[in-house]
Amino acid sequence: MKDMASNPILSLRDLSVHRGTAKILDRVNLSLAEGETLALVGESGAGKSTIATALMRLLDGAKVEGSAEMEGAGDLLALSERQMVKLRGRRLSMIFQDAGSALNPSYTVGRQLITVLRRNLGLSKAEARTRAVELFTSVGINDPEGRMSAYPHQLSGGMQQRVMVAIALACNPDLLLADEPTSALDVTIQAQIVRLILAQTKSRGASCIFVLHDLALASQSCDRIVVLYAGQVVESGPARDILEYHRHPYTKQLKSCVLEIGTKEVTAPEGTVPPHSEMPVGCRFATRCPRALPRCAGEAPPLQPARAGADGPLDHQFACWNPE
């Protein structure tokens, strides 16, 4: 079992991201224990993917503030590009939304995996090839030998994402960032891929941050959930508590719209996220919130512990003046 008291593998402190005048991420704090799986949930534009991309330091043209201490590596946001190059793919890995466009169309998938193994682990050509076939087998690619010489466009979406998983896990990273790895796939394959990523990370003892649209999928597959709205954390805590004892009205809306199972895109809660130029000074959700009080528009609610009774979980937090 995971030891929650162990040192966190990653802790984010006041991570903010500015793009131009827009603050697309606002003082996000979170920590991730070793071997833990964390889901970032919210609508498009909530800043989920921004967190993952900022951690990889692949966020070009944006101003990033705060710190992201990774165990044994230091502050990811303060490392030099050279140090990041050494970290990426080895200790810190990422799976992208659409594997079809995240694989280079000009090279075979085998070559792309072998390159990672040879460059990052220093394996010989023959060793890397053997290891690549093993990896392809472990992520459930049938005919792994034959698929080595396939180009990305010759594979189905599910197979492409399996290749991405193999590449991301090739060097046994300590932390995997999965940025909506299933949003480009059919519903039937989505569950397979999520299960595959979880099984592979668990068996390696790696920690994982899952960026997801879907609260139900998140609560089934992850240990903890962080709900984001318009660049801010509105609620976070153990997966079960978020699903069943959520306090924030936005989490409730996310949950209720998730019940329509079978649709590929999750139907969004009513209304839309206000544009950054019109962001309310108070609670950012106030414009759409059914429980909004006069106070909400002018005063931003802080995150507070949600201890319901003495046996409530310690790390369940929410930010709302008028909670459920």
Binding site: R88, G89, D98, A102, N104, P105, S106
Partner: protein, 316 residues
């Protein structure tokens, strides 16, 4: 894939046929009587008619074309009326290699200078370097090549005495001598292409660098030089090769001026004197050679696509 290739080759042959009929026909319609030119100012009617018959010019158009086409393919390109030399030897064996050498040098300069410059501009987008390269590229496109050629001769050949003023040495016979004589004309002809390739490389690479597979390559720990050259530049090969093939026509046109400025005995110079002397068989030979070259290179460009982009290969 082979079916596609055969289709393209057949298409090319049709284009070649049309071009050959057009070049044959247009020159027939051009003013000026070649028989008169050959015979000089004083001649008898009998001499005129016998030469016309000897050259087959009294035959119907199609017969003349067929006769000409068959002999052309066999390498019998006729005799220059004025110089009384074999046109095949003059045009194909002597002039063509000069122009090919010049064109290859210009193309090599364009790629070796244009691609790195464009890549650097794309990577250093919106910096002083990028702006400087843009200004250079614009100057290169706008500057007339004959003026540049004369300036280069004046500075590097006359003042600095680094390179020869003019003349041609075959790199097949004297490799270094050939290169030495080709540097100034090659640069002169290639300025436009260096500029064009710089701009094209920059624009296409900026687009490619925004693709998710570039971010994914960085996420795997690839250092930036590999991200740019292995993942980026590999994916601009196709537009680059396409434009190079299409612009070859402009390059061949440019050889006319460059060959004149540097006194290189190539197709450009040959065509200039042939047009002025109304030697239409020489003009035909020149037109056919440049047209075949252009069409042939673009066929190669077409055939290279499946090698440049795996997505264009037929699924097995």
């Amino acid at each position: 894939m082979w079916g596609q290739a055969l289709g393209k080759i057949a298409q090319t042959l049709v284009v070649l046929f049309v071009v050959s009929v057009a070049s044959f026909g247009l020159l027939k319609l051009a003013p000026g009587d070649p028989i008169q030119i050959m015979l000089g100012s004083e001649y008898s009617q009998e001499a005129y008619e016998s030469l016309t018959a000897e050259l087959g010019l009294d035959q119907p158009f199609l017969a003349q074309y067929a006769d000409w086409a068959v002999r052309f393919v066999q390498g019998d390109w006729g005799t220059s009326y004025v110089a009384r030399t074999d046109i095949f030897t003059y045009a194909f064996k002597e002039a063509l290699p000069v122009t090919l050498t010049l064109a290859s040098f210009s193309l090599a300069f364009a790629i070796l200078i244009g691609v790195p410059l464009g890549v650097l501009s794309a990577v250093k987008k919106d910096t002083a370097f990028d702006a400087g390269a843009a200004v250079l590229a614009l100057t290169g496109t706008a500057f007339p090549s004959f003026l540049l050629g004369i300036l280069l001769i004046w500075f590097f050949a006359v003042k600095m005495q680094l390179f020869p003023v003019m003349g041609y040495v075959s790199p097949w016979q004297d490799f270094w001598g050939g290169i030495y004589h080709m540097i100034l004309p090659g640069l002169t002809l290639s300025t436009y292409f260096i500029a064009m390739i710089t701009r094209l490389t920059r624009a296409t690479l900026i687009e490619v660098m925004e693709q998710p597979y570039i971010a994914a390559a960085r996420a795997r720990g690839e250092p930036s030089w590999r991200v740019i050259w292995v993942h980026g530049v590999r994916n601009i090969a196709m537009p680059l090769v396409t434009i190079l093939g299409l612009q070859l026509g402009v390059l061949l046109q440019g050889t006319v001026l460059t060959e004149t400025v540097f006194n290189l005995p190539g197709i450009g110079q040959m065509l200039t004197s042939a047009v002025l002397g109304r030697e239409y068989m020489v003009v035909q030979a020149g037109v056919m050679m440049t047209a075949t070259l252009f069409i042939g290179v673009n066929l190669l460009v077409d055939l290279s696509y499946p090698f440049l982009d795996p997505r264009l290969r037929a699924r097995k």
